[in-house]
Symmetry: C2
Subunit: 348 residues, 2 copies
């Protein structure tokens, strides 16, 4: 829904970009208030009346967004048969008919440079003969998407890849009417040797009403919290930790013994860490990223997965890429220092 | 609607930012296609089936946005009584009751630095006594907004200001169901000495369906065209032109005579130039800005005018302001050179 119109105001809130701000913030604030105070009392009174009307509008707006949420629920149902079909084709549970596979790919062929095409033809032949044992469905469909989409690739570690080969579907579920607004991402896995869960979930809770303290900042539903789930790892398979050996010296006797300890390590599967959403205050930046990822799964990856698989979701917009770099730079400034690798042999 | 969630992807389209793009675009494109070509035929076939499903989803999505548009029409009706009341209070046609003006402004008072407050108290007194002839409504309500919002202030010229003092309301009207999707901005003026129109309009036409050529780029309705209106200026009052005197030398006789000619000059009222939307190809940048302005009126200025009047729509988000500056810089790079002022005494 963040895409109804191509011109999205990057600030999201308040249209700040368009406000004159060549004076220091504090001064501006004071000047503004002063200007307001300079108004004759009768006029100020009328402006307060306008603000009360604005409050009413904010409450109407909240109802509007509730109805949009309902509409999203309704359409989730309409998309579902397509998503189910996608899941079945990807998993190899269903083989599409010839009619279902018809695709005008002439243009794509043309776009392929000629030498690349020759190479492709050759390798395709090899691939076909090598794959005499015809692969099931679309192998590594979701893993390929994880590798191709930067935001996801950043979370992906080498040890995650064999696990994500078992990922068979990602879905989003919206909260029921009357419930607090939320959406749940569900990651479905085929039986595997890493954990016993068949589905890993992450709930994003949303705030859908104006804040009593600051009603005018309301801009529609906002993610305010999230909750992962416990992964039941098989013994020794948990990729979110690693075993470090530490040498302990006995204070009195001076003897040294080696103990092993689990320490956290980077992994996509930390995304489901149920504790993550709770450490709110000190992790503002991380949480923002987490919310962005949740939103990105919901709005882009899940609805149009095949376009990320083929790469078509990437568009050749140079200015956008330029802007992205800049945003990346700004993001980096906000990021904390890398914590550095754990040294597994450190003595304590 | 571009604000359902605070995390708006600045690129609007395709989530490009999150795509790995450390290789040249052409190479990436080829590599991607090649990767796709390397897939066994049976797998490629299934991916085509997934793309056909994706096409169906794009068409469902178009229906979703039509329903959102309907919802917006419905809510426009619910907001309207508040907007009417606002118009009447601003114009002084209605005096709000004491109850309607109740406002908890303690916090605002506190925020005002003490010395400023003293000054304010003094000037307020002066203002009140000076304004023994109590001003009608909220004078210069819309003009103040034009001055405060950068995007509008950039269009505003000194000669526009006395005219905009007569602006009494701005509204948005959505297209009827079954009609091609559009919205119309309407600017209502009280009778004035500049032009005879009581309302100036600008229609923004939208495209609400996937493009047959490129269906996967569909991201919801998009502004594709706009149309202003003719302003019936009173004689000599048109601020969108100015009179220049030019000296003409007779080729044969060498005598010089002075002729006057109207040349365009900058003015907010060029916003209504009915020709503007038509010169499409050579004015891409200008049109983008025009579309942004239309969207900004619709989504921000009209729904929450009083917050721009008081300045509350401005939020103190330093990172956002930083980002805005950068975006501004990028914009500037795309801009054409200034054409420079017209020299009114140039000889031809």
């Amino acid at each position: 829904l963040s895409k109804v119109i191509a011109f999205v105001f990057p600030q999201g809130k308040g249209g700040n970009k368009h406000f004159q701000s060549d004076k220091p913030e504090g001064f501006l604030q004071a000047e503004r208030t002063l200007n307001f105070h300079l108004l004759p009392k009768t006029v100020k009174r009328r402006v307060y009346a306008l603000k009360r009307l604005q409050l009413q509008s904010a409450n109407i707006e909240a109802k509007f967004y509730e109805e949009v949420h309902e509409l999203e629920r309704k359409y989730a149902g309409l998309y579902q048969p397509n998503f189910d079909k996608r899941r079945d084709i990807v998993a190899g549970a269903v083989e599409p008919t010839d009619e279902e596979c018809e695709w005008q790919s002439d243009r794509e062929e043309e776009e392929l440079a000629e030498d690349l095409q020759k190479k492709a033809a050759l390798e395709e032949k090899q691939a076909d003969s090598a794959g005499a044992d015809d692969p099931r469905g679309v192998p590594e469909f979701w893993l390929t998407i994880f590798k191709r989409v930067n935001m996801l690739a950043e979370m992906l570690q080498e040890h995650d890849e064999p696990i994500l080969k078992h990922l068979q579907d990602i879905t989003v579920k919206f909260s029921e009417p009357g419930q607090p607004m939320s959406f749940t991402l569900e990651f479905y896995f085929e039986p595997n040797s890493y954990f016993s869960n068949t589905v890993l979930t992450k709930v994003y809770k949303m705030k859908s009403e104006p804040d009593a303290e600051d009603p005018f900042s309301f801009e529609g539903p906002e993610i305010i919290d999230c909750e992962g789930c416990k992964i039941d790892w098989h013994k020794g398979k948990d990729v979110t930790v690693r075993i470090v050996k530490k040498k302990q010296k006995h204070k009195g006797r001076g003897t040294v013994r080696t103990v092993t300890k689990e320490v956290p390590q980077e992994s996509f599967f930390n995304f489901f860490n149920p504790e993550k959403g709770k450490r709110k205050c000190d992790l503002d930046f991380t949480l923002t990223t987490d919310f962005e990822i949740g939103h990105f799964f919901r709005e882009r990856v899940i609805p149009r997965a095949v376009l990320y698989f083929t790469g078509e979701a990437l568009e050749d917009d140079e200015s956008v890429r330029l802007l992205s770099c800049v945003i990346q730079d700004l993001d980096d400034e906000g990021e904390e220092e890398d914590e550095g690798d754990f040294d597994p042999t450190v003595s304590i």
